[in-house]
Structure formats: C-alpha cells, structure tokens
C-alpha cells in the first residue's frame, strides 16, 4: 500500500467537513474519489497535502507518517498535487510556473523511473507552452491553465499525484488529451489519486473507486463492480 488514510477528521472552523474517512491507494494504480459537489473530496486531498489541517486520524505514505505535516514536507516526500482551481501563479510566466514545480531534476532521486520530467519533456507533450513560455499565467485560457498545472506538478517528479478535477471546464477535445496524458504518466509508473466529476473520464481511467457521501466514504470497490451497480451509482453520482 502506497498511501493509507485512516479515520481522518477535518474541520473548517466549526464545520465538520471530513468525518472518519479512510482510504488507500496502491502502488501503480489509479484510484478515483467521486461524489457530488461539496462532499469533501477536495478537502480530503488538501488534508493529505497538508493544506487543510486534520484534527485527528492518520496519513501514512510509504510507511512515513505525514499527518499534520506542512505542505512542503508532504511534497518533498514525493506527493504531487493539482488543485481544482488550478492555482496557476498569475504573475509568473509559463516557464517560471514550470520552474516553480521543479524538483528531483537530477538523477540522484530514489525515483523508480529513468525518465525524469524536465521542461523540455513537458514542452514535448504540450508544444504550445514552448511558444508561449514568456507569457504571464493570468492571460492563459482555462484549458491552458489546466495543462500548465499538470505540467507544473509533473516537474516535481512525484511518485504519487493527487489530481483534483483535471477536466473541469475544458473543451471535449482537451478533455480527451488530458485523459490520455494522465493515462500515459500512470503507465510510466506514477500512481494517481483522482477526483473527477466527469464520470466517463473517471471510468475510463480508474482501477478502483471510492464514492463519497456527505463527509464520508460511502462505497468502495473496483470500477467494474461499480459499473455493475447502477443504484449505488445513481445514489452517489446522479448519472
């Protein structure tokens, strides 16, 4: 087990947003966390990332306890993050945004892949970035910002990537491209925990799913099992 979250509880001031949540992600898989708006999916990711402070529970990553650690420690442990609102640095250029993510660029890291992500490799998969590398983040379209956020996270060469709604607000064509990129990096060895509203994207990527009701995990199973259970699907996802 790569990531194990046990009995997590998180509050925003007085509202109890995550209640006794447990989940786990295995090495090399894509796990999806699905559920309707406001259930606490993003907060779960933020809690893992150290951006929200859990009040109790435990987060174990490759045997290391990351509970309550500041975000930079979590990131340094090898976890990457793509936030739902992208959080591109509006006052930095495209190249600087990528540089901000740069980590483990040399071959000294203990990563299990030969191919480290570098700016050049990012430019290879998103060629438009090369042409517009000196442009400020604030002038990018939503789709472009989403791709930049993915590129920035890859630059950190994480072993586990937390992805929050990567296809939100993207045109269908781009959605397909993003889906393919995620699949490729997973096949290259990266583990993914994916939060996604677009069910078909999630279904085509995920090996296993967790469904979230209000503040808790309500269902856990493989993608195939879920496909076979339309009632659960309707209850949690309204598709």
């Amino acid at each position: 087990m790569m990531l194990a979250v046990k009995n997590l509880n998180t509050f925003y001031e007085l509202s109890h947003v995550i209640q006794d949540l447990s989940l786990s992600v295995d090495q090399g898989e894509i796990a999806a966390l699905l559920g309707r708006n406001g259930m606490g999916k993003s907060t779960t990711l933020k809690s893992i990332m150290g951006l929200a402070r859990p009040s109790s529970g435990q987060i174990l990553y490759q045997g290391i306890d990351l509970t309550g650690k500041p975000p930079h420690r979590v990131a340094q442990a090898g976890i990457g993050y793509i936030p739902e609102d992208r959080r591109i640095f509006a006052n930095l250029t495209v190249r600087e945004n990528l540089q901000m993510g740069a980590k483990n660029q040399g071959n000294t890291g203990s990563g299990n892949r030969q191919n480290k992500w570098t700016i050049d490799r990012i430019f290879d998969i998103f060629p438009w970035m090369k042409e517009r590398s000196a442009q400020n983040g604030r002038f990018l379209s939503g789709g472009e910002q989403q791709m930049l956020a993915i590129g920035r996270a890859l630059m950190g060469n994480p072993d586990l990537l937390l992805v929050d709604e990567p296809t939100e607000g993207l045109a269908p064509l781009i959605v397909r491209q993003v889906r393919d990129v995620l699949r490729d990096i997973n096949q290259a060895g990266m583990t993914l925990l994916l939060v996604e509203h677009n069910y078909s994207v999630a279904a085509s990527l995920a090996d296993r799913v967790y469904l979230m009701g209000k503040a808790r995990i309500g269902y856990e199973g493989t993608m195939a099992e879920l496909e076979a259970n339309p009632k659960i699907k309707a209850d949690y996802l309204e598709v």
Partner: protein, 249 residues
Amino acid sequence: MTGILETRDLCHDFNGLKVLTHIQFSVQPGERHAIIGPNGAGKTTFFNLVTGVYTPASGRILFKDVDVTKAKPYRLTRMGLGRSFQITSIFQRQTPFQNIRLAILSKNRIRFNLFVRVDRMNAINEQTNEILQEIQLADEAHLPTSTLSYGKQRSLDLGMALATAPDLLLFDEPTAGMSRDESHSAVELIRKLTEGKTMVIVEHDMDVVFSLADRITVLHRGEILATGTPYEIQENDAVKKAYLGESEV
C-alpha cells in the same frame, strides 16, 4: 410588454478579457427563469452586473422600467431586487436571528435609528421569527451561524434575500454543495417561498433547473446560445453540444 428585468446590449470585460457580449435578456413578471451554461460562461458576472456589483462596459439594464445601469446594490435592493450568493454570504459570527433581523430592519427602512434598543423592537423581532419559521431555522435561531450545516447556511442566505421582500429574486447556484436531501428540500423551499414572485436562477443541477424553471436561457462564452422552455432547451442541438453534452465524451 416589457419585462421586470431587461438588459439591452449588455457587454462586459475584465481588463480586455471579454466575458459578456451583447446580452439581450428579459424576464417577465411572475416568471421563473433559469440561466445555465458552462463554467466561466459569465453567469455570475451577469448577476454581478444586474445587481450593481460591477458597472457594465456598455449596454443598459432596466429594472421595473427604470434604468439602473449604474445603480449601486443598496439602491436595487430598495427597489425590490433580492439576491442570494454562489459563495454563501452571511454574517458568520452572529446568530441566524441577527442575520435575518438585519434584513428585516432594511425592509422596514430602519437605517439610522439610534434611539431604540433593537431587542425591544417587537414588530421587528416578530417579523424576524416569521422568516426563521419559513426557512425552518427557528430551532437554531440563537446558535452561532458558523456551527450550522452547510445546507442550513444556504437556507439562511436565501432567507436574507427573501426577508427584504423583493419583487425579483436572483439565485446563484442555491443548491451547490448541498447533499441530495438538502438539495431536495431547498428546491421545495424555493418553490414555496417564490410562489407568485419573479425569479432568476443560475444552477448546474439540471434536476433543479427542470423542476423549477418555466423558461431557460443558455449562456455560452458570454453569449446567449438559446432561450426557451425546458423541453426546447433539452432538445436543442447547440445546447447539447456546448453544455448538456452527449452521453459519451
């Protein structure tokens, strides 16, 4: 016949980023109108223009046949326009009672009263309690608002918009972030409270839209893609393509 709310050639941009272009929009009195469209289509921006948060780059806005293009929010509220917010906007540090009471004070045009203790104003307190009953918050009336569940906070947001007794109500994603049950009761509440009133609602949840709206406008990239009855919209190809989507990606 002109509508209670009309926009003529409404355009807006943020430092050159065009968000709305030439919007011709009209709501008839008594109508329940929904605006739908993809994220970033400009729906919230449209609300912000109509309610006076931003001044439009060009075009005109008419409310009850009065030009309100440059009117400030408080003026519009006084003219009978109520609004709830996409991001819940209430007074977190106070009780629901105090929240609603402020709206009731405004409705009664009590703005600069320095001479009476507000907790001794019985008429105000009664009206406040009535609203709290209506939005089913009477039991929690004196708890700190920040301890309420998300759904109840949304109800409070609605209640404040209602308490000013508006003729036209604008709801920006009133059920966003609500659980299925909460969402369901919120829709019922809205239906009950807006009985016989005019309202415009922005909502991503199609169940909510189709169960509440008489007419739907689809906004896409700052332009109106289509306007029509729920049935017409559901069948509209352009809308399907841009927003509702086919079953496969």
